[in-house]
């Protein structure tokens, strides 16, 4: 216990007094778990709004000549849809949401390093989201989520609002990134060495530096676009000596790492869910952990694979193609590890597990089309077509969103004390799975046949598959509605979960559901990896967690 003694009286044992009153507890809360839930709620509200926009897109595409909204409005709709899904839904849900909710408990900390900054970071997010949606009132951006100039320079005032909104969520992300890095480096419980951290923590640990570094690079690009639009300062306008291609560099230098921001935490979720329900230690723990770090690092060196058609010199294109291929290696390693974890396991087909298995399958498909796209000759053919839309939705819905759903079914009992309904959950999964594939699988061949993305009308030869996709997308939306009904119903009437309904072994399951605001009565000591199901739990100091013994004294009461 020498390690524990070393820490007594220090930050690890430090407890803030429990906040009193509704506002301090639930609105301007400093508690990472409440902040996590705030992120989840806000993120899912924006998810519904951008989902509505998605259905507007699919409804427009029921007919080759469109007709649901005007072509200009259509441009606004898909631009805001994409921006909101990336910056207001997937990133906040996976980092601020699940990150805050879960990883501090998993490393045995009482809170994050800077609770006050955490609160600030959350409150920036809904404000920025409202700003983004309010851009519809002044003419929303029309150049897609990547807002290439010169179109973004010509757009209505809403494009400037877009810049400001995305800049602000960026500030929020940067703060979260700094907070998470410091928390993981400094706040781990005694004995929680790096190679004993749960894989979800590794996912956040690989993501946080990206949040911190890549997002700031985007902030520069957004600031430049904003001042060019508002004050006529030339950066991107070619008629004044600026360069539109420069925007593409600045944007993708952020946005390629951002795709890893959107997938690494989901990798982490899957790596928790799979071993828990296969009742087997995760295969290749270190491989998964280090491949996350490798992906995060290499993610900064591949951005120009989005720009193969932008007129880069060929000697520049080739290295980008090769490094992109190389990124496929750590990604493949992970897929291999997950499959090996499932292999021969005693699999419990809970809803969380279904989503995790679905993730492995669909993400693999998205990864394979990514490797296709990295091949310059193929990319020249399909760039700007629905093939790209297919790829990005397989990785973002089949990957990130399935990860989010797996995480919701898995951790909902921890945050609420009640289980989500499994029957509704399975209906949700299957309808979603079918609807998703029906919506996005045909986009592969439509893209190869040359159907361009981001256009309000299309060639009548594509009518059948587009109608098929639209109808499938309605099914997918219906499945998501079932999920929301499930959440609302289960909060009040769900089965009581108890501390550890899944028999899981990471630290958050060893404390009550929901955990006390101070997380642990005594900070535990950790002796090993959490995933070895045949061994006793590798923790000590947790004996009192599930008893009625009094809470620890607020040492730092002030």
């Amino acid at each position: 216990m020498a390690v524990a003694a070393l820490h007594s009286g220090g930050i690890a044992d430090h407890i803030h007094p429990e906040p009193q009153g509704f506002v301090r507890r639930y609105v301007f809360s400093l508690d990472h778990k409440i902040i996590g839930i705030q992120y989840l709620i806000t993120g899912f509200v924006f998810f519904m709004l951008s989902g509505l926009l998605a259905e507007a897109i699919r409804t427009q595409l029921l007919n080759p000549s469109g007709g649901f909204v005007a072509p200009g409005t259509y441009n606004e709709v898909y631009s805001v849809h994409g921006s909101a899904m990336v910056w207001l839904v997937v990133i906040p849900l996976l980092t601020g949401g699940f990150g805050n909710l879960v990883f501090p408990v998993q490393i045995g900390a009482r809170d994050v390093a800077f609770p006050w900054l955490n609160m600030l970071s959350f409150w920036i997010f809904p404000v920025a989201g409202l700003m983004l949606f309010s851009s519809f009132l002044m003419g929303a951006p029309t150049a897609g989520w990547m807002e290439y100039p010169p179109i973004s320079l010509q757009g209505a005032a809403g494009t400037s609002m877009w810049c400001a909104a995305i800049f602000l969520v960026g500030v929020s992300s940067t703060i979260t990134g700094i907070n998470f890095v410091v928390t993981i480096l400094k706040m781990r419980a005694p004995g929680m060495t790096f190679t004993r951290m749960p894989l979800f923590v590794w996912g956040q640990f690989a993501t946080a530096p990206l949040l911190m570094i890549a997002t700031t690079a985007l902030a520069a690009a957004l600031a430049a676009l904003f001042i060019e639009r508002q004050f006529g300062v030339p950066f991107f306008d070619p008629t004044k000596g600026g360069s539109p291609v420069m925007w593409q560099h600045m944007f993708w230098f952020y946005s390629h790492p951002a795709v890893y921001i959107m997938i690494l935490p989901a990798f982490g979720i899957i790596s928790e869910v799979l071993p828990t329900f296969a009742r087997k230690p995760i295969f290749g723990y270190k491989l998964i952990a280090f491949s996350s770090m490798a992906i995060a690092l290499a993610g900064f060196m591949v951005w120009a694979h989005h720009m193969f058609t932008s007129g880069l010199a060929p000697f520049l294109q080739l290295p980008f193609m090769i490094i992109t291929y190389l990124i496929g290696v750590p990604t493949g390693i992970k897929i291999f590890s997950w499959t090996a974890t499932l292999w021969g396991g005693k699999i419990h087909y809970t809803t969380a597990m279904l989503f995790a298995i679905g993730f492995v399958g669909l993400f693999t498909l998205g990864g394979i089309t990514g490797i296709f796209l990295a091949a310059i000759p193929f990319d020249l053919h399909v760039h700007g077509t629905y093939f790209i839309v297919a790829h990005l939705h397989y990785v973002l819905i089949g990957g990130s969103l399935m990860g989010i759903f797996a995480g919701m079914y898995y951790w909902f009992p921890k945050m609420s004390g009640r289980l989500l309904n499994e029957t509704l959950g399975k209906i949700h999964f299957w309808l979603f799975f079918i609807g998703f594939n029906g919506t996005f699988l045909p986009m592969h061949w439509l893209g190869v046949m040359g159907m361009p993305r981001e256009v309000a009308t299309y060639d009548p030869q594509f009518t059948f598959w587009n109608r098929f996709e639209s109808v499938s997308s309605y099914l997918m939306t219906f499945a998501i509605l079932i999920f929301f009904v499930n959440v609302l119903w289960s909060i009040r009437y769900g089965k009581r979960a108890g501390a550890n309904p899944w028999g899981a072994r990471t630290l958050e399951w060893q404390v009550p559901s929901p955990p006390h605001y101070y997380n642990f009565k005594h900070v535990p000591t950790v002796y090993g990896l959490p995933y070895d199901f045949s061994q006793p739990l590798p923790y000590s100091g947790l004996e009192e967690e599930l008893t009625d013994s009094p809470p620890p004294v607020a040492a730092g009461a002030h």
């Binding site: 390093a113 900054l117 907070n179 690079a217 520069a220 430049a224 300062v233 950066f235 560099h249 040492a555």
Partner: protein, 204 residues
């Protein structure tokens, strides 16, 4: 994000808790500087990209910047880096009066640098060869980057002024002076950024 924001989590007493909290804040602050550095790097990338995009540099009709004046101004800023260093050292060794003088000197030099920058801006904007923010890619990159840097110096001067007032009020003790450490780190950071900006705008 500001230093004050991190400071909001401060706790009293020089005990282990304080030592650990200070470590957290130091690390957080360094990471903040890293991301600020990325912000500058992105604009520096933009400048170099535009500079090499074809017309030659400076673009036709624009004079080269006046190196001599900017060099003197840089000496002023680097001097303030030195005084800031001695301020911190003196504080650590308990020489409070010397610390205060060095801190004040840093503020004066920092303000002097800003004055020099204002003079240079005035010359560029209203002098013979009118250049301004929006008049071309030269103005865009020069005024954005040096302006951003100037704003950083300005915030630094304000922060150091707050440090003077806080120190006079006895906020900092020999065991507990994270605010001064943070100020010193920030000030050196701003100095280093200026070395880069000076090289790429005036010398390159």
């Amino acid at each position: 994000m500001s230093v004050a924001a991190i400071g909001a989590d401060a706790h009293g007493g020089v005990d282990q808790l304080y030592v650990e909290t200070r470590e957290l804040r130091l690390q957080g602050f360094l990471l903040f500087l890293v991301s600020d550095c990325v912000l500058f790097s992105s604009f520096i990338f933009a400048y170099l990209y535009l500079r090499n995009s074809g017309q030659g540099w400076p673009p036709p009709g624009i004079q080269r910047l006046d190196v001599a004046f900017a060099a003197w101004n840089s000496v002023v800023l680097f001097g303030s880096g030195a005084t800031m260093h001695y301020a911190l050292e003196n504080f650590k060794h308990g020489k409070f009066i010397k610390y205060m003088w060095f801190l004040l000197a840093t503020i004066v030099l920092g303000a002097g640098f800003l004055g020099g920058q204002a003079f240079e801006y005035n010359h560029l904007i209203f002098g013979e060869h009118v250049t301004w923010w929006g008049s071309g890619i030269f103005g865009a990159s020069f005024f954005t980057l040096t302006g951003m840097h100037g704003l950083h110096v300005f915030f630094g001067v304000c922060y150091l002024t707050v440090l003077v007032l806080q120190s006079a009020a006895g906020v900092y003790t020999r065991g507990k002076y994270f605010g001064i450490t943070a100020g010193t780190l920030y000030w050196h950071f701003v100095d280093v950024i200026w070395v880069v900006l000076f090289s790429i705008f005036y010398l390159l």
